[in-house]
């Protein structure tokens, strides 16, 4: 279902869009925006175990 590798171009597109979206949301709303995005992506992945593993990855080195 998922493409395990984003091309470098796509990675950069996602990178830029995320940054700009966080700016557009503004400091008051940026966390809400990212939380919503996480839920939407979790639903897209459709596999709780994979999502929990991704949460664990993101928790490293905070």
């Amino acid at each position: 279902m998922t493409n395990p590798n984003l091309s470098i171009q796509d990675l950069e597109t996602v990178y830029d869009t995320l940054a700009e979206s966080i700016d557009a949301a503004g400091p008051e709303r940026e966390t809400l925006f990212l939380t919503k995005l996480t839920l939407l992506m979790a639903r897209e992945i459709g596999d709780a175990e994979r999502v929990l593993a991704l949460i664990a990855s993101a928790q490293k080195d905070l």
């Binding site: 809400l32 939380t35 919503k36 996480t38 839920l39 939407l40 639903r43």
Partner: protein, 566 residues
């Protein structure tokens, strides 16, 4: 000297009447030994007394006040509660006034983002929810008690001390004519959240308190909306918080809103504070009608239970035993299940049909139920009253998504009070055919109601004691089985057979019911000769594809815990 007020409580719609104190026999020098004394004449205490009477056991209710409770308090009664209350004969009266309903709505930014429909089957007599103010329910229960010679209510009688001994309980009370003591074999504490009995016994509740206070306020107002639960999330006038609205009989509406974290209850109940917030809520939903406040109160969410409901000769039930999370109408509805479970067991112990070990199952079964409720309601609390920044973010993200995405809908699901399965109860018969059934209530579960015809349901016919539900293709039950049951009854064992016949050749009468199209057989996974053994609280404790009649005495002994467990 205990001087309860004899002035009727103020209300804009309910006429409180005073039940006067009467000099007790003990105060006239008469000696009395009571089999059972119940402390507290709220809905649970009254239901306990009526249940005990249904099993033929007398009780004395001791109540500190001289009138019913102040305010509407518990207003939503579930189907299971109605089924329980039906057995003590108050539901006809309730339904003259109560408002039945099934639908719940979650609203965010003026949009309904989730609608919940509680299931209603043709086989159910009662609606999933029924709204009625607690004063009315208490009044109807008291009217029923007044018709029941086995029950005595002592008004204006306040508990001051207790001696919980091996041979009995001595209860010290104070009254307008001074103190006296009652001697009882058993004491039931049904005296609510701030139970005096619990305090006197030095018992502590275990669990958590959630932060967050809530105001409940009843107003009289004409709002042209159906009887459905309304939950408003994060409104502008109460940012981040949740407001619930419920319709009550008589043009009364309940508002239930969360307070800001730093606000004291006294502040919240100040008239101007109430007026402003209630008006803000009405403005938000576009209601322009005049209104009047009847009653208001502040409460907080707790999740606490005693670890054991049996202490010597004292038993705890209802809010005296546990304080449950508010979400999901779990207060009184859990209490009814508690006291129905308790009453038959205590009645049979008092009547010498069983020993104290049967009472211990009350505690095991209902403490487990309380713990299950606490865990389940915790999930609702995370959504309705988020306890941390993280939970608040997720809740807010869900609210925002709900405006455009349907997949988050289930997160709004309103878990409500439901009956419990006593699947691990020692009263369940082992080695029966429980797992062989493809349908029907399993051991530990309550009976499913069945519709036999117009205004005619299974629960209308249940006997007071154990019930053997027997399915047959013959017009009547087999003579052999009838003889077995007669023998057991002759020994004083509380068992009746309710026959469900598919034969079509007989007239249904008394405990013989007719299943015209096989529907009941199907719902219960039965064939001709199948049987369910049902406890007096309508929970199944054994079921057989083909009942061996000779085993019946042994099965009943097991359900009363009369055999030693191997």
């Amino acid at each position: 000297m205990h001087q309860p007020t004899t002035t009727p409580r103020p209300s804009i719609y309910y006429d409180y009447r005073i039940y006067p104190f009467e000099t007790a026999p003990e105060q006239r020098g008469e000696e009395r030994r009571h089999p059972i004394v119940i402390v507290g004449a709220g809905p649970i205490g009254l239901t306990t007394a009526l249940e005990l009477a249904r099993h033929g056991v007398a009780s004395v209710l001791v109540e500190s006040e001289c009138q019913v409770s102040e305010g509407s308090r518990a207003i939503v009664f579930t189907r299971r509660s109605m089924e329980i209350l039906q057995q003590i004969g108050v539901t006809d009266r309730m339904l003259e006034t109560a408002l039945p309903w099934r639908f719940g709505n979650s609203i965010y930014r003026g949009k309904r983002v989730f609608r919940m429909e509680a299931p209603q089957d043709d086989d159910d007599r009662f609606a999933p929810m029924n709204n009625l103010q607690q004063q009315y329910l208490e009044q109807y229960l008291i009217e029923r008690v007044q018709q029941e010679p086995l029950i005595e209510i002592r008004w204006g009688t306040k508990v001051t001390g207790i001696n919980n001994g091996d041979q009995g309980v001595r209860l010290d009370v104070d009254t307008p004519e001074g103190p006296y003591s009652l001697e009882a074999d058993w004491l039931i504490a049904a005296d609510g959240a701030r139970s005096v009995v619990r305090q006197l016994e030095g018992l502590r509740l275990e669990g958590d308190s959630y932060s967050g206070n809530f105001v409940i306020a009843d107003i009289r107002i004409d709002i042209d909306r159906p009887t459905e639960r309304l939950a408003f999330f994060d409104p502008d006038w109460n940012p981040g918080n949740t407001i619930l609205m419920h319709r009550e009989p008589g043009g009364i509406w309940r508002l239930d809103y969360q307070l800001p974290a730093d606000e004291a209850p006294e502040q919240a109940l100040a008239p101007e504070s109430l007026r402003k917030r209630i008006q803000a809520q009405l403005d938000m939903i576009g209601v322009n009608a005049p209104w009047e406040l009847d009653w208001s109160s502040v409460y907080s969410a707790r999740a606490l239970t005693l670890p054991d409901y049996l202490h010597g000769r004292v038993l705890f039930t209802g809010d005296a035993a546990h304080l449950l999370p508010i979400f999901g109408v779990r207060g009184a509805n859990t209490g009814f299940q508690d006291c129905q479970n308790l009453a038959w067991k205590l009645a049979y112990v008092v009547q010498g049909l069983a020993d104290r070990r049967l009472l211990e199952t009350y505690s095991h079964e209902r403490v487990a139920a309380a713990r299950e409720i606490i865990a389940e309601a915790g999930k609702s609390t995370r959504f309705m009253a988020p306890p941390s920044r993280g939970f608040r973010l997720l809740r807010d993200a869900t609210l925002s998504l709900s405006l455009s995405e349907s997949f988050v809908g289930p997160l709004f699901h309103w878990r409500t009070s439901r009956p419990h399965d006593y699947a691990d109860s020692p009263l369940n018969v082992p080695m029966d055919d429980n797992i062989a059934f493809g349908a029907g209530p399993a051991n530990g579960a309550p009976l499913q109601n069945l519709r036999f015809g117009e205004n005619d349901y299974l629960f209308d016919h249940l006997p007071a004691g154990f019930c053997l539900l027997y399915f047959t293709d013959a017009p009547t039950l087999p003579a052999e089985l009838a003889a077995q049951v007669e023998q057991l009854k002759a020994k004083g064992l509380p068992l009746d057979v309710l026959t469900i016949s598919r034969s079509g050749e007989h007239q249904p009468v008394g405990l013989q019911l007719a299943d015209h199209n096989g529907h009941c057989f199907n719902r219960y996974g039965a064939q001709s000769g199948s049987a369910y053994l049902v406890r007096p609280d309508q929970h199944v404790c054994g079921r057989w594809k083909q009942l061996d009649f000779d085993a019946l005495p042994r099965l009943l002994d097991r359900a009363l815990l009369k055999q030693e467990e191997s």
